[in-house]
Symmetry: C2
Subunit: 451 residues, 2 copies
């Protein structure tokens, strides 16, 4: 069954029980489902129903449900709770990375208040130290919970440590080996612990060719290293080499998805992460900036076209081909920029050298421009637009495709140099620029060849 | 050090040694680097140098290097090898999922030939059974290598089985429990094995609330389930419930990235996965289809505009605002469709019900249309374009933004219904359609109000 169907089924069964308000029935139904599925139906129920569910089901499942909620839902959900409730009912039970994610949703004041209500002082200190990191660097993605052993221990001491930590660290993927100063010395896989004899010294089975990452590495770096080396977890160290946390692959998967979404949105001219379920004014606000850019570009185009008013009055047919020239420039530009943007994002753009790329882009766009222009010329002559006008349109088309492709190639590379997200270049920005340039080329050619 | 810098450094050190052809020097340099890094420099060296490296370095690292190569490089690399060499030097050493990926790159005939050279008959049979699956379903993503134990075993028998399989299964994340008919009964985490006593029965520590996936589930389903439930590995079962493989999260990460790339490309009007390093004719071929669609759309627009030749001769200023109307329609349409496409891809589009979405989209686009039109009207009146023409342009602008947004919302939903990738809708398709519709609305309004 697809996960969407699970939600539908659950909601269908649960709603009558919720309406009736019979605790035992609600518990019995929810007992059959995973926390991640319960979290999904929070989209479709009221805040009061959500609070009722969390209060009614068993504690570990309630915590897991809250943890699995979409950020937006978490934000809404916690509005109904006091700092004390958030601290003692939720944060106290979470892994530090999930706790920090939630604290980041609250105002700084409320987050501090929540932390002040925590009983476990070490945990509170951990959370405060983690809040210093941006949520898109390794320090913001990591969890403090991990199994850490000393390099001079035996395997049986390790197993004891795992036992002690077992409740706190749900997903023990490997054990980290440190020295007396907490400096990371290596990693031991659980498999090697299973296979080793109890009295073996840990250092004998430690892999010291481990990969670690600095707390200030960007999320992109973490994602690219973990996916390149196929890692399920990566230790995070501070500038002294001390082990301070670990990042697991599930958090990186979320990060990769968010990054891809952001590029997709930028390319589509959306200035913030929106979903169709967002409020009207949020949707409007996300779209307006790029519509404004389009409007400015459009005003530029009209100003430009108005400079050719005389030519248009003399030969109104010139106007017929404005849309084709403008649209093809936009299309070709977006294609070129998308290839570069994706190459930059995936780190597959091997050489940052611009000249050979422009040379290749010129060849590709000349080829495509020639094919499109030849087809257009044939069609226009057949249809009876006259050879001269048809030639102007086709020459303009080749020129525009080439210019737009070169611009599409160069713009993301320049943005990247200035540390601006190159995906910005592949959306309305390139379409708008190419509209203006394309029409300029077209009318100038028209004036020269037909005037 | 960023991974890109590692490659540069390696290449800088290695090239002189390669040129000199001193085996010992090449080995000493490559010994310092990971296979994944060595694989990256294959982009920059010749095929002969690549083969020389693979022949020279130690076998496990050579295999891992080949495994880590980008598909394109693998394809090129294997052209220089016979079926026998591929079988005995490479495939025999790989996990089944990586082996199948490589076999899929070869022609069916060569793949069969390669398999016929394998000594291990069980492994050969496994590969043949896996080749039956498409590479984007669970059966095509899974590996056959896993640790499988019987439900009536003890923990110490489990540990023995792990020891036996240890060499073949590099990343033991969990142990799968089956009955005598190989039907999956549950999963045991390595942590629980570490913590259990040797004589404990496996069934006592087995988690029977596991999530498994059918071999014919799509890659999207696998990705969405693994990321929803934060799984690092998922068992794959056949229609009888028998355990036939497992998928690890690293393969899913690659799949998620490829999916995101494909949506980005479709949106940008690229019809196949291309990189700027591809050959000119491949780049040209990927772009031509959507340029052709743009060309057709453009011809439609010109035919439409030519129907208003009389109006344009009478009032050439009408032509000034064609670009603004066309461009804004395109922008608004792409924004709307991108939100829907992303909602569909991420499964966050909670209700598939079209009407409320259209209602909301209408409100958002009316709001944005009003803002843009009001600004445009003010500007046009100030600039002296005359009140009547300015009104026509502004009314056309609102209309076009609304129509384009509604179309942008509805098109991906319809495509999805017909099992066509909705990302197709958010690219040149929507821009082109909106060009034609927008210009039609504009000129009709012009004729009605100014004619």
């Amino acid at each position: 069954m697809s996960t969407a169907n699970i939600e539908k089924e659950l909601l269908f069964k649960l709603q009558p029980a919720l309406d009736a308000g019979v605790d035992q029935e609600v518990i019995a139904i929810l007992d059959e489902y995973r926390a991640e599925d319960i979290a999904e139906i929070f989209w479709d129920i009221t805040l009061d129903e959500a609070k009722y569910i969390i209060k009614t089901i068993e504690k570990p499942k309630a915590i897991e449900t809250i943890r699995s909620l979409d950020e937006e839902l978490q934000g809404r959900f916690f509005k109904g709770y006091t700092a004390n409730e958030i601290a003692t009912d939720v944060i106290a039970y979470l892994d530090s990375d999930d706790a920090v994610d939630i604290l980041n949703l609250l105002s700084t004041r409320k987050a501090e208040e929540v932390i002040s209500f925590l009983d476990d002082q070490d945990y509170a200190k951990n959370l405060i130290s983690m809040l210093h990191y941006d949520d898109d660097v390794a320090g913001g993605l990591m969890a403090k919970e991990l199994v850490k052993v000393k390099y001079n221990w035996t395997v049986s001491q390790c197993v004891e440590e795992i036992r002690k930590q077992a409740e706190e660290v749900t997903n023990v993927l490997s054990v980290y080996v440190v020295d007396d100063k907490d400096i990371l010395k290596g990693v031991v896989s659980l498999k090697d612990i299973v296979l080793a004899k109890a009295h073996t010294s840990v250092i004998e089975i430690t892999n010291d060719e481990y990969i670690a990452i600095n707390a200030y590495s960007t999320g992109e770096e973490v994602a690219s290293i973990m996916s390149k080396y196929d890692l399920t977890a990566i230790p995070v160290i501070d500038s002294m080499g001390r082990l301070i946390g670990r990042i697991t692959i599930d958090d990186v998967v979320d990060f990769i998805k968010e990054e891809a979404d952001r590029d997709f949105q930028l390319q589509a001219g959306l200035s913030e992460n929106v979903e169709s379920s967002d409020k009207v004014w949020i949707l409007s606000r996300a779209r307006l900036p790029w519509l404004m850019v389009g409007l400015m570009g459009g005003l530029g185009s009209s100003a430009l076209v108005s400079g050719f008013e005389g030519d248009i009055s003399r030969l109104p047919q010139l106007a017929f081909f404005m849309p084709i020239v403008a649209a093809m420039g936009g299309n070709a530009g977006v294609q070129s920029s998308a290839i570069i943007v994706q190459g930059l994002a995936n780190n597959t753009l091997k050489s940052k050298n611009i000249l050979p790329k422009l040379g290749k882009e010129f060849t590709v766009s000349l080829l495509n421009g020639l094919i499109c222009s030849a087809l257009l010329l044939t069609w226009n002559v057949i249809i009876g637009h006259g050879y001269d006008l048809s030639m102007v349109v086709s020459i303009a088309l080749i020129t525009v495709i080439i210019v737009a492709s070169l611009l599409g190639t160069i713009t993301p590379l320049i943005l990247e140099k200035f540390n601006i997200d190159p995906a910005l270049a592949s959306g309305p920005f390139i379409t708008t620029t190419n509209d203006v340039i394309g029409l300029g080329v077209y009318f100038l050619l028209g004036r020269m060849m037909l005037g």
